[in-house]
Assembly symmetry: C2
């Protein structure tokens, strides 16, 4: 069931992870380069299912922390994650069996692959969000009772810290303060878990799913097919059952500031042939809510993806720019992310939004299961490159 | 040579420490209460000289970190220092033999006494400043080659962190960010040292010296004598050889803001019978420079103390207020604090001041060694309560 990642897998996985990153989780190009360097050095990336872990094995989730806007200007060194990983092992007095991702994202799905290659450890095919979220307490691990602490955090300057926080939200606050001081980006290992906890609390199979999403988009491009229809067809039958085109249009406004360690802002899209038909997306690293003419059409923890209308390629929040032709694509979040406990942590209230959580498929009854309907409904036909 | 601290010693020590705290290091009243609680519970405070430490013993300096303005509103819990101390012991995998202060200050000279009583450990009669400074890298320990890391930091909320920084200034930056996030005040143990390092890098005998300063002020009050003349006489022959009255007047302006985790600001005093004769003090937790009519009369690392003109009682920066009758008293810093390495770390340049360092006794040639001369020179005779 486990497999070694090929160069092609890596390309697909990076792109698919940026789709599930919902605007955040970092740039897939930067992330991919980090892993390619390891593959070029002859190292291998082994992906295994949680069911392949031996009983009682220690697994350390590993990622980067910070505003994606920072990663664009300050490229990851490649050594910080190993430093954080080793610091946490040393603190625990135990050797880890495997690495795993904390979230899906163009960069943060790649970090564990790079680290696994560097350390010669397998990477578990699962994570704690099945998407990207901006804050450390927003993980299924924590929702299902795993402590984020002790966590280790490292900088590019040779600093490491071990945090034992009184709760997962406190851990986020302390680690965020350190991350800002470390230059806006840091390397972390948190939520140390044993096999049974990994199996019980993770969103499973997400690395392979990201690879499949990227593969679907690549093949649609090769075949000049509609990437969104292909994506919707592919997602049916996975734990992300509903994929739907929410809107297609042109970016007419972007507000984005890097504050408090996050990329915060909003983007407004106008339909190409109906300039009064507007969709507004609010983001905090990741897209939180999409409102069409004031009405919520998708809200966290459902996924709001900004994809290039011509190619289906994901466009992260830090790259949003005036004039881009984008398709806003919604994906229903897996069931483990919709429990009352999960919604209390990373539903709308977790971000200070007053809108209630309503499942994507209920907000888009007509379109669900048929991305093209929504696309047609939202105005103009998309550009014909893939038609 | 070691001794158990009496209740009277404690009173004297708290007051003397606030004098050497040069406006910072925390309020002596709050500090004293923390130790009195331990004495009232039947615990003892044992003070020992560095020469009484067994060879190879581990010593952990312990203190509070944050803006003194915060301590006034948010009293220390009394348990945070033990949490930081234990976290550092655990990280090092060793048991400490003794506690010691990092600085002299109304609160930070008391913290190790409280902790020693709580843990049943002796307190070393030495510290790393012989005064108070606002930042963690500003210690003779670091100037003489001791690493501040690993350090432990704890909050009142049950959080602990261990920082392994790439340098002592980096350690300050990371710990400051955590302290702000912890509510503006935290509990730390840093610069873990063995006996030989303590002996080589400390300012020695400062706890006893603080006690002697407090005793001198108390007796002067009892005898209706001039506290400043008594202080100057007492300091002669110690490693703080010169004590001098720099100015006497009334506080006519105070600017004070709690920003970036520090109490920053300035105070202006006017001579009582010559309102155009002004002394301005700039502070960052501690008093940094005193300028009389624009001319520097004392500058870090020499000590600038704001003392009540009637009683000699120290007035910390967080308590400075309009209308107070204060005597600004300068004390020459010990020789270990005046080396080129020391001045590079905590001389004027360490605080962004463009003025060069000039020893207090050179700036006040006429007055040095005779506090009353300077006092007479600075305008009116002091109030006659002790005359």
């Amino acid at each position: 069931m486990g497999y070694d990642l090929t160069q092609q897998d890596l390309h697909d996985l990076a792109e698919g992870a940026a789709v599930l990153g919902t605007g955040g989780g970092g740039d897939p190009y930067i992330g991919r380069l980090l892993v390619e360097r390891e593959l070029a050095a002859g190292r291998r990336v082994r992906v295994i299912g949680a069911d392949e872990l031996p009983e009682g094995a220690l697994v350390l989730p590993s990622s980067m922390m910070g505003a994606p806007t920072v990663f664009v200007e300050k490229l990851p060194s490649g050594g910080g994650n190993a430093a954080a990983f080793r610091a946490l092992e040393e603190h625990l007095g135990r050797t880890a069996y495997a690495v795993m991702p904390t979230e899906c994202g163009g960069l943060n799905s790649m970090i564990p692959l790079m680290l696994g290659a560097q350390l010669g450890l397998p990477v578990v095919d699962a994570d704690g969000m099945g998407r990207a979220f901006p804050e450390l307490q927003m993980q299924t691990f924590g929702v299902l009772g795993v402590s984020g602490s002790p966590m280790a955090i490292a900088s590019d300057h040779g600093d490491t810290c071990v945090i034992q926080a009184a709760g997962n939200k406190r851990m986020e606050q302390l680690a965020r303060a350190l991350t800002i001081q470390m230059g806006g980006a840091s390397y972390i290992s948190d939520y140390p878990m044993e096999t049974a906890e990994v199996r019980r609390t993770s969103v499973h199979g997400t690395l392979s799913l990201c690879r499949d999403i990227g593969r679907t988009l690549r093949r649609a491009r090769q075949e000049h097919a509609d990437p969104f229809a292909a994506l919707t067809a592919m997602l049916t039958g996975t734990i992300y059952s509903h994929g739907v085109v929410l809107f297609q249009g042109k970016v007419i406004d972007v507000e984005r500031r890097t504050i408090d360690g996050f990329a915060r802002g909003r983007a407004v899209l106008a339909a190409l042939d109906a300039p009064d038909d507007l969709l507004e997306i609010t983001f905090q690293n990741e897209h939180l809510v999409a409102r069409r003419d004031g009405r919520v059409v998708a809200i966290v923890p459902d996924l709001i993806c900004t994809l290039d209308t011509g190619t289906g390629a994901p466009v992260p929040t830090e790259s949003l720019a005036y004039g881009q032709r984008l398709t806003v694509y919604g994906i229903s979040t897996p069931a483990i992310m919709r429990t009352p406990g999960a919604l209390a942590c990373f539903g709308p209230a977790g971000f200070g939004l007053s809108d209630p959580y309503t499942p994507l498929e209920d907000l888009n009854l007509a379109a669900t299961g048929s991305g093209r309907q929504a696309s047609q409904d939202s105005g103009p036909p998309a550009p014909a490159r893939w038609a």
